[in-house]
Amino acid sequence: MTRDFAGIPKDEFEFAGKSEEKSELLTRPSISFWRDVWRRLFKNKVAMTGLVIILAIALSSLIIPELSSYSYSQQNLRNINAAPSSQHWFGTDSLGRDLWVRTWFGARVSLAVGIFGSIIPSLIGVLIGGISGYFGGKVDMIIMRLIDIIICIPQMIYIILIMLVIGSGPVPLIIAFAITGWMGSARNVRGLILKIKEEEFVLASRILGASHGRIIFNHLVPNTLGIVVVSMTLGVPAAIFQEAYLSFIGLGIKPPIPSWGQLANLGTAVFRIYPTQLLIPAIMISLTMLSFNLFGDGLRDALDPKLRS
């Protein structure tokens, strides 16, 4: 009796027969790319926690200010710096304004600035970086030079200028971020496109006569989409931080509109006497940045094809 690998006797093997359908069978169930991503994301508890927190904060920011009897700008100069109480769940600030409402209204502002301040520059960057990478040559060189130059001018100058011309508030701030923040994204996308352009399937497509549009939509976009989405998500904490920083040095959101950065700024001044006025916005900022980071990380892991099980 001859033995094959695994030590099983050869005559115990039976010919299974040839079959057309069976030879076409895939070894595992077919599942689309995005369904797979979703599935893996769902399983990632840490990332899901992040997402839940984000949604909870966002929802609260929309609902809570509407339910409150105080407005975010309503002052009560005879009840300043009050501690948390049943009347004012987070207490009042130095002008007697209710901090509970201000914190949640500020959430709206900070989240809006954070999310749009990340998405819009990303999209602009994708557009410009994509054009630069796809067409290459002179176009690429000019655009890259332009980026090199613009990146060297301090962001402060742009922001002050824009604020002075358009006015202050969340929208001008988002515009300022959009104008000054697309460069990183553009560079990344450009690099990515340059890499993909040289891949064989793109080459094959071109030889077969596919138009620019077809190549872009069928090949380039799907391959970059995942990475762009991840960088947008991870860009939100950076935008939130930027807003906080700018408000902290007095250049961001102007009163009486609250934002977390502003609340942190106001809270720092009284930190040693009324610590809650700084702790609350600080925790909100940190928690939100943390959640976006965790979710973004999870998203990136989910999009990584090498982790397919």
Binding site: R145, I153, P154, M156, L161, F248, I285, N293, D297
Partner: protein
């Protein structure tokens, strides 16, 4: 290679020149007057001062005068610190900011890279989770809030480190740590992601199948290639360290450039702002230039690419 370097150098110069020009005109677009302060100056006095400093002459004329002086290394006198040249202020304050920045980088780089590598290699294990937690927390707490907390705890309450100023080594600890933590966190995350990306590449599998030792693989293949994205980050990171030190410098009373920077923009000290912008710009341009050269050395594809 030489042609590559030369080309990058010329482009750097062009960049610097354009930067100066754009900033010059942008600054003058800002409304307001550098001579006004809390004590409101009368209109006549304001105009007198503007004329004295030549600020009412045609803008183009001012531009050429300024650029001419700049080429000779003369950045003029500050409009606020009336008897000090912009050069002297920068020369005095820059080393302080640089000291703070370099210390933070020196602390953050090795620790961040090490943690990134360690957590990538032991992916999914306890070490990895710990590193991720540290790095995510570090990235989520803004440096200025961290700085205030550290100062409050270690200087005011525990009294083991000085509160402010930049004199002895002990004074330098808290501000450095406040900045380094944020940097460290970012570096860890990037290095980890980069290492994971590289480890699954084909050339690593090839090296393994060739029978190379673990250590050699890690060093010559994985880490070297993983460093490329870090290099890209280095330029802007250095820049942001210098910029972001402003609040830390304010809280810890450190006499660096950060304070001058924001004050000169909002106070419309044109000469000072121009000087600082050109200075930072030159810095960034040089940093990018050096990174480009490093790229050329590390990645032959880039050198040879058209």
């Amino acid at each position: 290679m030489v042609r590559y370097i030369l080309r990058r150098f010329l482009i750097s110069l062009l960049t610097l020149w354009l930067l100066a020009a754009i900033t010059f005109f942008l600054l003058r677009l800002l409304p307001g007057n550098p001579f006004q302060s809390d004590q409101i100056l009368t209109f006549e006095m304001q105009e007198r001062m503007m004329n004295y400093y030549g600020l009412n002459r045609p803008l183009i004329e001012q531009y050429f005068t300024y650029m001419g002086n700049l080429l000779q290394g003369n950045m003029g006198y500050s409009l606020k610190y009336t008897n000090r040249t912009v050069n002297s202020i920068i020369v005095r304050a820059f080393p302080v900011s640089a000291d703070l920045g370099l210390r933070s980088l020196a602390l953050a780089l090795p620790v961040g890279l090490f943690l990134g590598i360690a957590s990538a290699r032991k992916r999914g294990k306890a070490v990895d989770y710990l590193c991720v937690v540290i790095s995510v927390i570090g990235v989520s707490i803004p440096s200025f809030i961290l700085g205030s907390f550290l100062q409050y705890i270690f200087a005011l309450r525990l009294k083991i480190l000085p509160m402010a100023q930049w004199t002895t080594e002990m004074h330098k600890v808290l501000p450095t740590v406040a900045i380094a933590l944020g940097l460290l966190a970012t570096l860890t995350r990037i290095m980890r992601a980069s290492m994971l990306e590289v480890t699954t590449q084909d050339y690593v599998k090839t090296a393994k199948s060739k029978g190379l030792s673990e250590g050699k693989i890690i060093w010559s293949h994985e880490i070297r290639n993983a460093l490329i994205p870090i290099l890209t980050m280095l330029g802007p990171m250095v820049a942001s360290v210098l910029m972001g030190t402003f609040v830390i410098e304010k809280i810890f009373a450190i006499p660096g450039l950060g304070l001058h920077f924001v004050n000169s923009i909002t106070g419309l000290d044109y000469t000072m702002t121009m000087g600082l912008t050109v200075f930072f710009g030159a810095f960034l341009v040089s940093a990018n230039f050096l990174v480009d050269i490093a790229y050329g050395i590390v990645d032959p594809r880039i050198r040879l690419a058209k």
